[in-house]
Symmetry: D2
Subunit: 340 residues, 4 copies
């Protein structure tokens, strides 16, 4: 059986990879590494993973697939040896997502250790890059916010229904900020309220712009405002754009049909019948999309919901892994949303 | 001492009026009425109001000021006699907010019982209509969403910094939906997640359009999307608009100064130094506004925070009452936000 | 393949049964019935169940196993025909839990339609009644609070470590109150706080007393106080009892070992290494138990955590079903807790 | 006007003192000190305090009253000079609460810098020590958990209604853990669930035992289990005790009347008509107490609710200050609970 290892198993994405891989029928998680708690059982560190019989090591054993759930910069550094050995590598960090190395270095403030890999890495959003993922050895799994935003807008962009300057207003649960404690993400501070952040520019914006521009065949500009929700999980994105003449002529019903057509064969994206709630997809790899037209202002308004740790991170990485390994795309990812 | 009565004391706005009036130094709450729980002590109905020695009646005693905290349509009907008797009347419902009776009847689906009062009623947002409120006998206190949206955009509209088609993305705590139980607002359903609603049109939109158009001197169109937060209180509004040439020339710093100038003398609006959280103003009558410029897309992005039950309802109504009665505008409203 | 039907598919327990059965490898959910929304697709009613292709009917098709997820009294009435036809029946209501019909009629205020079935029905807690469940045709699946309380105390009672008067202080998420909207369980009311209820007696107490007395071989009295948590799911129970002489002599370490021994072969109960949080088991069928001794006061203090809708309801019912059908006990229930 | 200073203004208790003192009619907050953010405006540090025009200093100006909102050990050290200068000192830490220096040193693991002050310091629970507070120069303001627990049990202990071994099961919002970030109190970890902690002994237990023993005139033993709630504020305590013969003879109604009598003249304790919720007292200095009798088990069960930062910390400290200064006891503390 194919073996999988996780680098960075003590973060939220790492823990979620372990949770999902535990139930995967075709691969086996055999090794977990982290810079902290070395020698501890993973199930003591994360009690919800108690049934897994794995010990946290400082280095991975030899495995067929390496999942990197590390901070940017650290990720590239620790994954390079595995890439060089020709292993299947899926990086959940930002290190291989941006094609333009100068954009990477500008937004992340570090020098890239191997810029030529940026062209080789495939952006791991199966809904846009399935064929390339199937052929890939190195997949850059998308950021959580870009996943929600791109899936909300891709049909409209691909079909020319909107103008190429969009607004992405996203609301995310606190697990998106990771497991390192800060005052801002303490329960006493962040509960019972909401705040906007990243107003002077957030690192996930260039990812959205890159992919939407690629899809449009011309530059697409993005105003992106993330908000911190008082929940553990979930991202709801409300995306706004001016309708093109084609979009206006389609109207509400036509736009909805265009979305249904675009996502017709997708196993994990559904065009929702009613406005979705993040909890509808919590714990699952689904993305619910709800497109509407505001005829008073000729705007497209699309709501999308994902679980930031599943479709926005670990589930999507496993979806790419399945494609890379020639497994059924949905293997290990059939779990439904945990509602209520 | 001036006496005040509340019609609709068993709803959230009614309860909040009672909480705030309890600490008001210049007026006295002497009578509370409701259609339910008649004969019960208000402090048994709402245990947080236990120190108030008032019994819920089916009709108000004679009072100097009548606060209407009733559903629309019911409000107008029950307030008309008090208006006709020349009392100070502040209506927290939508019945006297829209100047155009056809807009009212279209959005609320009922016939207006006294359309000519619509011109006479003053829209009770002191930051825009202070002088008229001072002279008024009938004030239509603004809706919660419009309060947050208009305060976010008023300086930009008044000073011509933006184009006249705006996007208002609002996130509200569940108390905004009132105290009547529905499946949607149950804790098990609405907690740990977020959802958008009103996507086919929300009644608070025409209020925003009316006031922003009035301020602009030309029609202002509004795309408005409200969201249900898993909190009891608070509205955070993120407003987006394309900068006008003047707005672009001002840039981030100039726009911020324009906002500071506009709100310079306002006792309850502050231009925040950092992106505000709803909890910063929870329980208080303050509105925190944070304007920014997205220079990549030439958009204005403004975040505002209010407590939907205070500045978005009962506190603002008391602010108007203070103006109508010639009292200090801040009387009874000095309480600070309850943080954390 | 064995077919399963759900009576009461539009409540929380019904929805959770559907979620879990969707991933069950050995049985197939083929029919769902409810008194509401007949003709609607289950996946439209509960959007998280969208992948299930089932329509809500007013009656079940012929199936091998009937799961009753109905209110008490209604449950017995609708299940009797299926019992009489010799089907496998698992009732998640209280109708067949209490052996003493007078206790049932006193606490539930209704006459029992078939008292003689009370002796025949097996109390579906596999940790105490596995052998009988294997033989059963009618299982009364335990209440959520009793599951958490009994699992917290069973080893101590069975081994004579405590005196036979116990205190059960339980804290439950709001889904335990069901899906019918009430003021008390609205988000605006129940969020950001906690309250105790049922102080004059709660229906789940006699269930605890019955099972603990049976285990003790003598009457066991229970003080039970439930609390409403501002979460959707989860029950944490803190149980207190005076140590017997045997319990005192064992001390902290000995008591812990007694618990480990008692639950050694249980697939779904684990003696936790550190105090558990409800989220460690959220969405899973696990129960985490943490026994401690307060040597200053010679008391046993045990904390247990379950998901009220899984081990406290639908998961446990499936666990019983697996035993009744001779399937692996853990089939369809291997999913880990959704953390964070 | 009497001047007040806060040592430790950047913690939650410090911020809450500032919030409450801002509205106090008889004293003036003139100086705030902290070890962090020196030179910053308090209203920039805590945006909800924006209207206060105070700058954080490393030392206090000369003031009449010093409020210590510091961690234990640090508190005593920094307050000693002010005590020696004869100022009114109210310490919100544990440094002067325990009369027995060996208990202090055992539970807090530090040597006490001035043990003889322990006898001189008055335990600042006005409901038990009002007369001594009036005469005091040094008040040790009670811990949050002890406040809720002692007020729940004091009438029963004082009147001999219960046996002298009690159980205190408390549930607290996360602000009780202070403002220093830890993994445990991050929103992603602590939200949507509950956990018990301190099971091997919590520092607030000896405080409860000291005060209840003093009241009983004999040793009173306490089993105390705190729990972490997914809320910012609030403590609900459920206290259990075996009824004495006297208690049993009184029964439910008699016990309730005993509580009403005990708290008859107390401005901040009310015997609630229905089981209280923490939000009923949120932001206020009130304590709601609800005593019941479980006649099946002859136990007293009492529920109490406080806001841990107000009656459990800063409000209670101001209440003591009012008594020390000869002001009306309720000055600055009349604010009602923020509900919902």
């Amino acid at each position: 059986m194919t073996t999988v290892g996780i680098l960075g198993a003590t973060g939220y994405a790492g823990g979620e990879l372990a949770r999902l891989l535990y139930g995967h029928p075709n691969v086996r998680l055999t090794s977990v590494a982290s810079a902290e708690c070395i020698g501890e059982r993973l199930g003591d560190f994360f009690p919800h993973l108690a049934p897994l019989d794995l010990t946290i090591c400082d280095e991975l054993d030899d495995v067929d697939v390496v999942m990197g759930a590390l901070p940017h910069a650290v990720a590239a550094k620790l994954l390079l040896p595995w890439i060089d050995r020709g292993k299947f590598v899926i990086d959940l960090s930002a290190d291989f997502r941006l094609k333009d190395v100068s954009e990477y270095e500008r937004w992340y403030g570090v020098e890239h250790p191997r810029p030529k890999l940026l062209r080789q890495a495939v952006y791991g959003l199966p809904e846009l890059h399935r064929r390339e993922i199937v052929e890939a050895r190195l997949v850059a799994s998308p950021g959580c916010y870009p996943t929600g935003a791109i899936l909300a807008l891709a049909p409209a962009v691909a079909k020319g229904l909107i103008e190429k300057s969009v607004i992405v207003d996203s609301k995310s649960g606190a697990s998106g900020a990771g497991r390192s404690p800060t005052v801002t993400t303490m329960l006493a501070e962040a509960s019972e309220g909401i705040s906007a952040y990243g107003l002077s520019g957030h690192r996930h914006m260039p990812e959205m712009a890159q992919e939407l521009s690629l899809l449009a065949g011309e530059p697409c500009r993005v105003t992106f405002v993330p908000h911190l929700l008082p929940t553990a999980r979930g991202i709801l994105t409300t995306a706004y754009a001016c309708l093109s003449e084609k979009g206006r002529s389609l109207g509400q019903q036509g736009v909805r049909e265009a979305y249904q057509e675009f996502y017709h064969d997708e196993p994990f994206v559904r065009v929702a019948a009613t406005p979705p709630q993040t909890k509808h997809v919590r714990g699952s790899n689904f993305c619910a999309v709800f497109p509407t037209v505001d005829e008073r202002t000729d705007r497209l308004v699309v709501v999308s919901c994902i679980d930031n740790l599943v479709k926005g991170a670990s589930g999507q990485a496993i979806q790419s892994m399945n494609l890379m390994l020639g497994l059924p795309e949905t293997a290990g990812l059939e779990g439904l949303g945990l509602y209520p």
